[in-house]
Amino acid sequence: MADRSARPVRGRPSPALATWAVLTALFLAHHDVWLWDAPHRLAWAGGLPAGLLYHVAYCAAAALVMVWAVRRFPWSRLDRLDRTEGSGEGAPSPAGTPGPGGAPP
């Protein structure tokens, strides 16, 4: 799997920034104020209320975003640890660790 975060492209937003932007947008979409007082049920969805169906679809959307996020995550930096170290004190440390942005800080 390509480690896209390791290949920043000039002129484009950084991979970490794009990841966090998408996650933030998804977080904001969780707060569905537009469906707050909508009690109508959708016949094509087995009669499920619209608001509930929205949140079920939200879970599916979250799964898709996670597929995208794991493709951008710098696994190769962590897997270097697998190849070069065992567990336990005193083992040598690889340079660089992933930061909270999914890319090295």
């Binding site: 707060h31 608001g51 949140h55 794991v70």
Partner: protein, 485 residues
């Protein structure tokens, strides 16, 4: 008949524990982290089993019984996003540091990060204090389940005792390995049986559409039963995953970093698969089993099973509920045992460290002691499972700034960490002792206590860290090699 099926199920779980024991190496690392050997599927199932508790099945359906479908958005869909994000960023980072340095607990991480024995001990106390109500959720949930399915023949205390005893047997037998294997088995059981339960009950009620038509329409949208700021506040609750000691222990069992891929991607779908039937059955129960109030509403799912599923299947379905309850109870007990063994006994015996066999024996002893104490407490506690859970989660969210700072923020200082811990403990205690519950709006803000607990902890951490001297470069080197400027 019912009890025979549940008994058979419990025996199967014990047998799994016995098989796992055969593979147990005589060391603490194998007992507590299965020698960091699990693949993606076992990691997914054990994380999910540990996270989904009586809260997710009995608590969620009980809450939806009174508050409607909005309960799904409060807890499930927010978890579907927040939990996998935490696994991806916090879980992999914790796994990396744990593997590199041989750490097994968050307390070890914090001790090394700031070089403070007192801070580590205070964090241990906070974690242990907050896991106890979470443990009680499982023990109370199993008592409620077995009492309901036996029609009252088995008293609640006996049901709780049975589940506690089974968890005791298989956790002490194989530690993390038997816990994870049992979790895989139990998570599959409750996922499959959850779907079967839902289909059977809804079918007996005349189909989903017909059953929903009988429900009070006010339960079919957020409306006035859920406040907009409550939804915002609840979105913080799943952050507690970052501070749960049992989740971090499961992260450490991953064989490789890429083992996290499957749990991260599949988690949102697993959450929906468990919560959707739970919430819908709670809502349908409001029309089918009216009149339940307070903690009794937590039993609505079991009442529905009893009334609307064939007798032979009802017992099997009840076993599925017990499975969900035990799948989290075991992990929490093991996590507490690890904390006691590594962070209390291990530190007290620094001059004369425990042998691998000694560490194993201490771990088992603590599992037994913790379960006995939690069972004793369950006899005197009678609170709504949902409320009990939300208080516990609120406290864990208060610890998240400290955990994140330890993992990611080079400038965070020991004084800042202390301030964060004190601020979280102080605000949590203040709200807990107040009149409102964990969901009560604070003043005119409409926000829940969790926002203020987490906010106070984060502000204290940042303010005090900036006001104090940065940590020494040598100490940071262990955490941020090559970049500890």
């Amino acid at each position: 008949m019912t009890l025979a099926w549940v008994g058979l199920y419990l025996a199967a779980v014990v047998a799994l524990g016995a098989v796992a024991q055969r593979r147990l190496a005589a060391s603490g690392e194998d007992f507590f982290a299965a020698s960091r050997s699990f693949g993606p599927f076992v990691l997914l199932m054990s994380l999910f089993g540990a996270h989904m508790t009586a809260f997710s099945l009995l608590g969620a359906s009980g809450e939806a019984y009174g508050r409607g479908v909005g309960v799904f958005s409060l807890m499930a869909s927010s978890s579907a996003l927040v939990a996998p994000v935490v696994f991806l960023f916090v879980g992999t980072r914790f796994w990396e540091l744990g593997k590199r340095h041989g750490w097994l607990t968050q307390v070890e991480l914090v001790r090394e990060r700031w070089g403070s024995e007192g801070l580590a001990l205070a964090l241990f106390a906070a974690l242990a204090f907050l896991v106890v109500p979470y443990l009680l959720l499982g023990i109370l949930g199993s008592g409620v389940t077995l009492a309901e399915v036996s029609g009252g023949q088995v008293p609640r205390w006996a049901g709780s005792l049975a589940a506690t005893a089974v968890v005791l047997v298989y956790v002490t037998a194989g530690g993390m390995r038997s816990t994870a294997w049992a979790n895989v088995f139990q998570t599959l059981v409750f996922l499959v049986l959850g779907g079967v339960t839902f289909a059977l009950i809804v079918g007996d009620l005349g189909g989903l559409s017909a059953a929903l038509a009988r429900v009070d329409p006010a339960l079919l949208h957020h409306g006035e039963r859920i406040r907009p700021w409550e939804l915002v506040s609840y979105a913080l609750i799943p952050l507690s995953v970052a501070a749960f000691p049992h989740m971090s222990m499961h992260w450490l069992t991953a064989k490789r970093a890429e083992t996290f891929r499957l749990p991260v991607v599949a988690y949102p779908l697993c959450v929906a698969a468990v919560w959707l039937p739970s919430v819908l059955l709670g809502v349908l129960g409001s029309a089918a089993v009216p009149g339940l109030a307070g903690p009794a509403a937590s039993g609505v799912l079991l009442r529905l099973i009893e009334q609307h599923a064939p007798a032979a299947l009802a017992s099997l379905l009840a076993a599925g509920v017990v499975a969900a309850v035990m799948a989290s109870l075991d992990s929490q007990v093991l996590a507490l045992s690890t904390l006691f063994t590594r962070d209390v006994v291990g530190r007290l015996r620094r001059a004369r460290p425990l042998s691998p066999r000694g560490e194993l024996a201490a771990g088992r002893l603590f599992v037994a002691a913790i379960l006995a104490a939690a069972f004793g407490l369950s006899l005197v506690v009678d609170r709504s499972l949902f409320r009990l859970g939300v208080w516990s989660f609120t406290g864990f969210v208060g610890l998240v700034p400290l955990i994140l700072a330890a993992l990611f923020w080079r400038r965070a200082t020991a004084a800042g960490a202390w301030a964060s811990l004190v601020a979280a403990a102080g605000t949590w205690t203040w709200f807990f002792l107040g009149k409102g519950g964990p969901e009560a709006p604070v003043g005119p803000s409409g926000l829940m206590p969790v926002v203020f607990v987490a906010g106070a902890a984060a502000v204290a951490l940042v303010a005090v860290s900036w006001a104090t001297r940065p940590p020494a470069r040598e100490r940071l080197e262990k955490f941020f090699p090559g970049e500890a400027a």
